[in-house]
């Protein structure tokens, strides 16, 4: 009898909590923010088949790829049919992503840091970005709400999202760099919800599996230091709003065996990557011979639309920082790493 009372009391507390959330917390969020929160979780509940067209700016040129997506809450298969990725297949299942290129006999495996959007990440997003409504439109024959995600404090990359008013699936994403220039756009050209995936659709592509990047609970600075043979340390400085998300082991996809520590920082939407390696590596595929970017202590930059790359020699190791924030920030991060 007492146990029943406890259960009832617990249920009552839970119900009160839900009511409190609904009456006190949610009403304080704007409609745009609520849409964003719902959209962050939409892919965990929706199944759909879609045709997607993606335009990406890379080294000053627009590159377009087409893909067909079979998505269910547990597994997703993306078949690329156009552009330089034609014939490539990506399967995202559990916390792993498998990629096989057309004509390749091997499959690149990466382990995801956060297979599902955590409450922490959504909290970070809301802390660092403001969501403002951008009106209504139609994408792939569906009504969508447009929401702009812009950084609250300092200059940084921003996003415009087209979110299905019914399912909250993001049907189009435009990414802009910190100067507001469009760098990529992915748009669902056609979407069918609830479409069943055939049994063989989510099958992981066949071929020898090569782990190119992984992360797990066991990966931390100490275990990576043991594996790589040098001390992996966190930078003393990171840009405002970014917090440590986790450590990965980054392996060069060319199978040359070179590995780096990959430390990931996020502000909820954008990421900064800090790679630490014994010496600056240039993988076997490229046949380059000069491992040093410059004189010791000299920080070199290289800019792409997806972010700048800062390279600094720090003692016996090379630190490479990649991100979309101001390049001076990346240099500062690289130089703050012992």
């Amino acid at each position: 009898m007492r146990r029943v009372s406890y259960i009832l009391a617990a249920l009552a507390v839970a119900a009160l909590f839900v009511v409190w959330i609904q009456t006190q917390v949610l009403p304080t969020l704007s409609d745009a923010t609520r849409t964003v929160v719902a959209a962050a979780n939409a892919d965990r509940t929706q199944s759909y088949t879609a045709d997607v067209r993606t335009k990406t700016m890379y080294r000053g040129k627009w590159v377009t790829v087409e893909s067909k997506v079979y998505h269910s809450p547990k597994v997703e298969r993306i078949e690329y049919s156009g552009g330089h990725l034609a014939g490539a297949i990506v399967v995202n299942q559990g916390n792993k992503s498998y990629t096989r290129r057309h004509g390749s006999s091997s499959v690149a495996v990466t382990e995801l840091a956060t297979p599902a959007p955590s409450a922490d990440r959504i909290g970070l997003l809301l802390k660092n970005y403001s969501a403002t409504p951008g009106g209504r439109a139609r994408v792939a024959g569906r009504d969508v709400n447009i929401v702009d995600l812009t950084p609250r404090t300092c200059a940084g990359p921003s996003k415009r999202l087209w979110i299905d008013t019914q399912t909250y699936v993001t049907l189009r994403t435009d990414d802009k760099d910190m100067e507001g220039r469009l760098i990529s756009s992915s748009e669902f050209r056609r979407v069918t919800y609830g479409s069943p995936m055939s049994a063989d659709m989510p099958r992981i592509p066949s071929g020898k599996q090569i782990e190119t990047a992984s992360v797990s609970a066991g990966r931390d600075a100490a275990s990576l230091s043991r594996r790589l043979g040098f001390r992996v340390t966190l930078p003393k400085y990171v840009s405002r709003g970014y917090t440590l998300e986790g450590y990965r082991l980054h392996a060069c996809p060319c199978r040359c065996g070179h590995e780096s520590a990959h430390i990931v920082y996020t502000n909820g939407v954008d990421t900064i990557s800090v790679f630490e390696t014994r010496k600056l590596h240039h993988c076997g595929v490229t046949k380059a011979c000069d491992p040093h970017p410059g004189a010791a202590g000299q920080c070199l930059m290289n800019k792409t639309e997806r972010g700048a790359v800062a390279v600094a020699q720090r003692g016996a190791k090379t630190v490479v920082v990649v991100g979309s924030v101001d390049p001076s920030e990346l240099m500062r991060i690289a130089e703050s790493t012992d």
Binding site: T54, K55, F275, N302
Partner: protein, 166 residues
């Protein structure tokens, strides 16, 4: 007295009548008939109602992303804006001049390439490897454009290979 034959004949002209496309006797005959015949007047109203419906519902929404496409084209630094075309004689001279200039550039570039082979673009190749890692590592972020990031990863990998061949 309006007859059934009159009505059939006039109804065949109503579309033109509604667009003021009848002349002379036909126009007069149609006007007089419609004024006297309620059924044909009603028929004429359906032409006007059709035009109203088309005006009210005929407009389409332009595709999403039109501005982005226009913006990218007008701000593309590689694009030369179209300007008023010069006269034919001048055009010919300009073409010859441009051809000579282009040929000179090709020869100069070729000579410099033969004399002093460029070293591999180490910075680009190194950057490409880590841009690839960064793109792959960012794919699972909130609202990350996984399609574009996969594309970037593949482009960066291709760039590594391309630089390696230099």
């Amino acid at each position: 007295m309006e007859t059934r034959v009159d009505c059939e004949y006039i109804r065949g002209l109503l579309a033109d009548f509604s667009e003021d496309n009848l002349l002379g006797r036909a126009a007069r005959r149609a006007r007089d008939h419609v004024a006297a015949c309620e059924a044909c007047a009603d028929e004429l109203k359906t032409f006007e109602a059709t035009a109203d419906l088309v005006r009210e519902k005929g407009l389409r929404e332009p595709p999403v992303g039109l501005w982005n496409a226009v913006y990218n084209r007008i701000t593309d630094p590689a694009r030369a804006p179209s300007v008023a075309r010069p006269a034919a004689g001048l055009r010919l001279r300009l073409r010859i001049g441009a051809a000579i200039a282009a040929l000179s550039l090709v020869i100069l570039f070729g000579l410099s390439y033969v004399r002093r082979p460029q070293p591999p673009s180490v910075a680009n190749a190194v950057a490409a490897e880590y841009v690839e890692g960064h793109a792959v590592g960012s794919r699972d972020g909130l609202f990350a454009d996984r399609f574009s990031l996969t594309s970037v990863a593949a482009l960066a990998e291709a760039e590594q290979r391309e630089n390696g061949r230099l």
